[in-house]
């Protein structure tokens, strides 16, 4: 159990260029399941590897449980890590893989035996202890990788996209398994992924990263509903949030192309700094509907022509072109009948409107909380 504190951590590689990790300042609480989320190259894996001790820290301090560990080698940090590739030792059996780290730590043999048995039981690996990794399925390998971390009973678990090599069904299973183990162990876990579903479902908090910097930290739903900037807004949510460029001519309402919306969440003084400036208006796909009534009296709307229809079974994605180059996607109910080329108008409640400053991409703080019916 431990608190992991990243204090203005930076990572620069030789040869100039922007830092790979820039001024990351996060504290991960004891027993927390923190997800580092972001697109590839955003610095999340590098951050994780710095925590693991597999990468030097260029500047800033990293402390675990109050102890500064910048200069402590990986093996002495009492951290276990599950790799994306699992990194199972191909020449060892499952049992040997599980016990490899313990043997090094001079754990007594009966103790090793006991822990390996226990973890194997928990993860359902008992029948495979004598096999080598190449004789295991992908899911089994993943569980061995997890087990290898678990037998160590470390203060902190690190996961580097551990599910990305699994197929969809297995991924869901394993996700639940991980959540279960987190609950059982109560250890601090830091989990890197680029998959927002994993982030939303597993994390007690998520930390969205972009370009080496932390874009936003918070509870999953909080981040989802209050994205700090357009990047977070679009990164969380599938399909990504629709953004429309507009100029805020008057406080309270905005019109651009086929978009029409009232800004009821902002008091005029909140909007004052952006009046007359370029803004981005955001609407999530799931807030768009064909039903004007449901969207309420001050409903906003977008109008355009359908150019793509993707029935997903449970729902249907309809893509609409408002004018040349301006598109939006709506997540509509499965019964919707839309034909390509057809003119269409979609409605959304004014309380589901997001507003960003186009120049800074930062969200314009709303006066009233989001009030959509969900």
């Amino acid at each position: 159990m431990a608190v992991v504190q990243l204090d203005r951590i930076c990572k620069r590689y030789g040869g100039g260029g922007p830092p790979a990790v820039d001024d990351v300042d996060v504290t991960i609480g004891d027993g927390e399941f923190m997800v580092l989320l972001g697109p590839s190259g955003c610095g999340k894996s590098t951050t994780l590897r710095m925590i693991a001790g597999l990468e030097t820290i260029s500047s800033g301090t990293l402390s675990i449980d109050g102890r500064v560990v910048n200069e402590v080698p990986a093996k002495d940090r009492d951290i276990a890590m599950v790799f994306q590739s699992y990194a199972l030792y191909p020449h060892m059996t499952v049992a040997e893989n599980l016990s490899f780290g313990l043997r090094r730590r001079k754990t007594p043999a009966p103790e090793i035996e006991r822990r390996v048995r226990e973890v194997a039981e928990i993860l359902g690996l008992a029948p495979y202890l004598a096999r080598k990794p190449h004789a295991l399925s992908g899911g089994q390998r993943q569980r061995v990788a997890l087990g290898r971390a678990m037998v160590r009973e470390p203060m902190v678990f690190l996961f580097d996209e551990p599910l990305s090599n699994l197929d969809a069904a297995l991924r869901v299973n394993t996700r639940n398994e991980l959540i279960k183990q987190h609950r059982r162990l109560g250890s601090t876990m830091i989990y890197v992924t680029h998959d927002q579903v994993e982030a939303m479902t597993m994390g007690t908090r998520i930390c969205v990263m972009n370009g080496g910097r932390v874009a936003q930290v918070g509870a999953p739903l909080d981040v989802y509903w209050n994205p700090a900037d357009t990047f977070v807004a679009r990164f969380l949510g599938s399909p990504p949030m629709n953004l429309f460029a507009a100029t805020l001519a008057e406080p309270g309402r905005v019109e651009a192309g086929g978009l029409r919306s009232r800004l009821t969440r902002w008091r005029p003084d909140a909007l004052a700094p952006v009046v007359g400036r370029d803004v981005m208006v955001g609407v999530r796909a799931e807030d768009l509907s064909l039903d004007r009534e449901a969207a309420g009296p001050e409903a906003g709307s977008v109008a355009g022509r359908v150019f793509a229809v993707e029935p997903l079974g449970a729902e249907t994605l309809v893509s609409v072109e408002l004018e040349r180059g301006v598109e939006c996607t709506a997540r509509l109910s499965r019964g919707v009948q839309a034909r390509i080329g057809e003119a269409i108008e979609l409605f959304f409640p004014p309380t589901a409107t997001f507003l960003f400053d186009a120049a800074t991409t930062r969200a314009v703080p709303a006066s009233a909380p989001l009030g959509a019916v969900h």
């Binding site: 001790g53 597999l54 990468e55 030097t56 820290i57 910048n70 200069e71 402590v72 080698p73 990986a74």
Partner: protein, 319 residues
């Protein structure tokens, strides 16, 4: 040699750098003592048994060394080399060999590998059979092929006579027009199997999807070979070529035993000439052969760099 400075640096300061924990946290870095443990044995072997003798050889090339006396002669050995007819003949022969023969080696190896890949029965037997020549020492290969090339009862001439081509029989190793080719063929015989094994390994590692895709594209065997297999094996083939090239630039044993460089210097290679000048001429001068060796080392290095440049191949042999 640029190497000496870095050689000295590694073992020189292990203690001073021991307290460098900063490095320890990056698994792609290692502290100097660790690096030293890994590298020093190899570098010591290299320094003591390769670099030092080579350096000594280059140093010797500025002397005339008769018996116990060494007389510094500056660049005289190098100047003499420029006018040495035999040396230039040897260079020509070696170049012919080094540039042409590897094509033969690699092409044969590739085609054999393809034949095995095509899934013949008893593939394992053939693989061993075709590799057998690689296992034989040059001494044995030389004896065997001198018998094969024997004018009176060698297989080559016997076969030619058997099919009525008496006119083509000749003393293959004794005729300056055929001697070099005859030795090159022998060398290729020995090495084709090696190239076959490497090519086979490389073919096996080609992604089968690509080959299958090419079949869907209605791609014929020849087209597949030219457009798919050869381009995909390109790094392997080029590396084999360069390795073979280096081997041929040094070729010695076979020539020495089979022809001794004759007839009329037709098979003289740079290596046999160096050896001849160092050990077989009734003079003790080591300076001149050292000069040849030094020049040749430069030439081979340049040629390898040039080949790498031409092939633009950063990829390495796939093992």
């Amino acid at each position: 040699m640029a190497s000496t400075s870095s050689l000295a640096a590694v073992p020189a300061a292990p203690a001073a750098e021991r307290a460098a924990p900063r490095r320890m946290t990056d698994p792609r870095r290692a502290s100097l003592p660790v690096l030293a443990v890994f590298l020093v044995p190899a570098l010591a072997v290299y320094a003591g048994l390769t670099a030092y003798p080579a350096f000594r050889t280059i140093y010797d090339s500025f002397f005339t060394i008769e018996g116990m006396e060494r007389v510094p002669v500056g660049l005289a050995n190098y100047r003499e080399l420029l006018g040495d007819e035999t040396f230039w003949v040897a260079v020509r022969n070696t170049f012919v060999w080094a540039f042409v023969a590897p094509i033969l080696d690699v092409a044969t190896g590739l085609l054999l590998a393809l034949a095995l890949y095509a899934g013949v029965p008893f593939a394992r037997f053939f693989r061993i059979a075709w590799f057998t020549p690689v296992l034989l020492s040059y001494v044995v290969v030389a004896i065997l092929w001198m018998w094969l090339y024997n004018y009176d009862w060698g297989v080559v001439n016997v076969a030619l006579r058997a099919v009525g081509l008496d006119g083509l029989t000749r003393s293959w190793l004794g005729d300056p027009n055929t001697a070099l080719a005859a030795v090159i063929v022998t060398h290729a015989w020995k090495w084709a199997g090696f190239n076959m094994v490497v090519c086979l390994a490389a073919i096996h590692s080609l992604p089968s999807e690509v080959l299958e895709a090419s079949e869907l594209d209605n791609c014929g065997w020849g087209a597949k070979l030219v457009h798919i297999i050869v381009p995909m094996l390109r790094p392997t083939l080029l590396n084999l070529y360069v390795l073979a090239f280096i081997g041929k630039m040094k070729v010695f044993d076979l020539v020495w035993i089979m022809t001794g460089g004759g007839p009329l210097w037709a098979t003289e290679t740079v290596s046999t000439y160096v050896y001849k000048r160092a050990f077989n001429w009734n003079t003790f001068d080591l300076g001149y052969p050292s000069a040849i060796a030094a020049v040749w080392f430069g030439v081979v290095c340049a040629a390898v760099l040039l080949l790498n440049r031409v092939f633009k191949s950063k990829e390495r042999l796939e093992y």
